[in-house]
């Protein structure tokens, strides 16, 4: 266990209350604040959009976007790359140069190490930044402490590939290096987790890869949930029609222990399981900075927020969008998807600007559209509209593709356009 990890766990144990918050204040000040400023933490599907829309809605507000990486790689569509249907990740990759140039978003490429809601500052490795409003879009991190034996090296041996980039490449390389006749295991977590249909799409595309290139191989999807949690009629049909010879779904089973050396995992209620490739996607929570910043709720996992402003119910002037936030919902909540994050970030940006300008807030209206491929030329989708009702977010329409895959080819093409549009929106 690394030092960083150990101190982080200590922080968790301390309840991440105010007493457990790291002190900020003595580091040097980065970019002294002159006028009104919004700081955004994280340049993914939510953060990049929040930064852009604040600037679009009121260019008199300074926006600083703090992001660890110079480039962002999309998780949506990374299953294509993993399963060999894309040669590289260039179509999944964006940079922030045009966003900065077109909208005057000030980029700081650094890692946020602490948030001080009382002083209204964030600390990065390079120094502190003051804000009037802070929008945090940290995505997810993993509850690896729930798996016995999981350490800093586990993700290299059993890649989760649930953050696109190096992890995706690891899983792809392992699949390609595996001899025909090998066994592949995908272990997916309990809800809520990032991208509900993602593991099922991945199972289809890996099964497709195996069927085509390694026909004697077998894929098993272990679902920690009692049953398929997303687009069930569509995925179960794809499995039984396309992959019945090389694929097996097992519900209500999760990995409890890992042994990297032996390439095996322990599954509750089942004997130890050996596989040539193990794609272990651990259970999830809000990204580390949300935990360090005392933004997670009583569950210690997700960040409770107001549904109109996305303001934290724990700290004023701090807003959380995307995978990390828990919105008060009536019925099934917005899924933790790229589109949801995009939509939430726009609602948040608009109301942050309204708050800063003393204007009336505007009720939530949002969309989620998500495409999943079932093979190399067909996709299925879910489309949802969300509105505010009685202080809670509620779906006014939710429906999946027709079960006969009659729109599969068309939706495959629309999916590609979806990716291009949503990434262009974030990066220009």
């Amino acid at each position: 266990m690394t030092l960083e990890r150990r101190s982080f766990l200590k922080l968790l144990a301390a309840g991440a209350g105010a007493a457990g918050l790291p002190m900020i204040g003595h580091a040097n000040t980065l970019m002294p604040k002159k006028g009104r400023r919004v700081v955004v933490v994280g340049g993914g599907y939510g953060g990049a959009i929040a930064a852009k829309y604040v600037r679009m809605l009121d260019p008199s507000i300074e926006v600083v976007l703090i992001e660890r990486n110079k480039q962002f790689i999309s998780c949506p569509f990374s299953n294509f790359y993993i399963a060999g249907l894309m040669n590289d990740m260039s179509t999944l990759t964006i940079s922030y140069d045009k966003l900065a140039a077109n909208h005057g978003v000030k980029m700081v490429y650094d890692e946020v190490t602490a948030i001080d809601p009382a002083a209204k500052t964030v600390a990065t490795k390079g120094g502190t930044l003051a804000y009037d409003h802070l929008i945090v879009a940290p995505g997810i991190d993993f509850r690896t402490e729930e798996i016995e034996g999981y350490d800093a090296n586990t993700a290299k041996a059993f890649p989760h590939a649930w953050k696109a980039g190096e992890q995706s490449t690891l899983l792809r390389q392992q699949l390609q290096a595996m001899p025909d006749g090998g066994k592949v295991l995908i272990s997916m977590p309990v809800t809520p987790y990032r991208c509900p249909p993602g593991p099922y799409e991945r199972s289809c595309l890996i099964a497709h890869y195996l069927k085509k290139h390694k026909p004697k191989s077998k894929l098993i999807l272990l679902d920690a949930n009692p049953d398929v949690v997303s687009k069930k009629p569509l995925f179960t049909k794809a499995w039984s029609e396309l992959y019945k010879d090389n694929f097996e779904y097992i519900g209500a089973k999760k990995v409890t222990k890992v042994n990297v050396k032996e390439k095996l995992v322990s599954i509750e209620g089942v004997e130890d399981f050996k596989a040539d490739v193990i794609n272990l996607i651990p259970a999830q929570r809000a990204g580390d900075i949300a935990v360090k910043g005392d933004l997670v709720g009583e569950d210690k996992r997700w960040c409770p927020i107001q549904p109109v402003t996305f303001e934290s119910t724990k700290h004023k002037f701090v807003h959380i969008v995307g995978d990390a936030c828990a919105i008060p919902s009536d019925g099934p909540p917005m899924p933790k998807s790229g589109y949801s994050a995009n939509s939430q970030a726009k609602v948040c940006a608009m109301n942050v600007v309204n708050m800063m300008n003393g204007k009336e807030l505007v009720d939530f209206s949002g969309i989620n559209v998500c495409y999943s491929a079932i093979d190399d030329h067909r996709s299925v989708s879910i489309a949802q509209v969300f509105k505010l009702e009685g202080g809670k977010v509620k779906s006014s329409a939710t429906a999946i593709s027709p079960a006969d895959f009659s729109l599969g080819k068309e939706e495959h093409a629309y999916g590609e356009s979806w990716l291009r549009n949503i990434l262009t929106e974030m990066s220009t």
Partner: protein, 192 residues
């Protein structure tokens, strides 16, 4: 004591509900921004299969959304999404997109087809597809600068009968050959 307590509870309740209780209903921008994930910021599309919504008339947006909702116009996700909105919300979205500037695209088009299409547009289509397709009469959509693959797919759907052509359009399209229609698509895609 009772009074004091209930007063306190009321205040606390009002605080907890503040943002929800005092917010205005979704504005045109709030409704329309959500479309941007697929149709681009302010309705300017970068995806070859998705139409730009910028600069469409309010009537065009409302007409399309109502037809998606009823199923008269076939779709993948649009019909499903349209069911989540009211007619008044369609109008609000239409109001927003009508205010946006035409989204100009740069596409690879066939110059000869563009030239041929320009003549056909002037002769057959101009009465409804005004200003070289930059505007539209009543609920006629904007054609200018839409992505070629999108235009071609829509024309295919019209010709196969999957999407119903307006009567006036059917009259005009009938005498045109496939090559003529292809030239028209190239022309519209080229208009800036």
């Amino acid at each position: 004591m009772n009074l004091r307590w209930s007063g306190w509870a009321l205040t606390a309740g009002a605080l907890a509900m503040s943002s929800a209780a005092f917010a205005a209903p979704p504005t045109p921008a709030m409704l329309a921004n959500a479309c941007g994930g697929c149709h681009g910021t302010n309705g300017g599309s970068a995806g070859l299969m998705m139409p730009s919504l910028a600069a469409h008339s309010k009537e065009a947006i409302v007409d399309a959304m109502k037809k998606f909702k009823s199923g008269e116009r076939p779709s993948t996700v649009m019909g499903r999404l349209a069911k989540g909105y009211t007619d008044a919300e369609f109008e609000a979205m239409g109001e927003f997109f009508a205010k946006q500037k035409l989204h100009v695209t740069n596409q690879n088009v066939d110059k000869a087809k563009v030239a041929k299409g320009a003549v056909l547009q002037e002769k057959h289509c101009n009465r409804c597809h005004n200003e070289e397709g930059r505007e539209g009469k009543d609920e006629t959509p904007v054609m200018a600068s839409q992505w070629l693959p999108y235009l071609q797919l829509q024309m295919e759907m019209y010709l196969s009968g999957k999407r119903k052509m307006p009567e006036k359009m059917a009259e005009k399209v009938k005498p045109l050959s496939k090559e003529d229609l292809d030239a028209l698509m190239h022309f519209y895609a080229s208009v800036k």
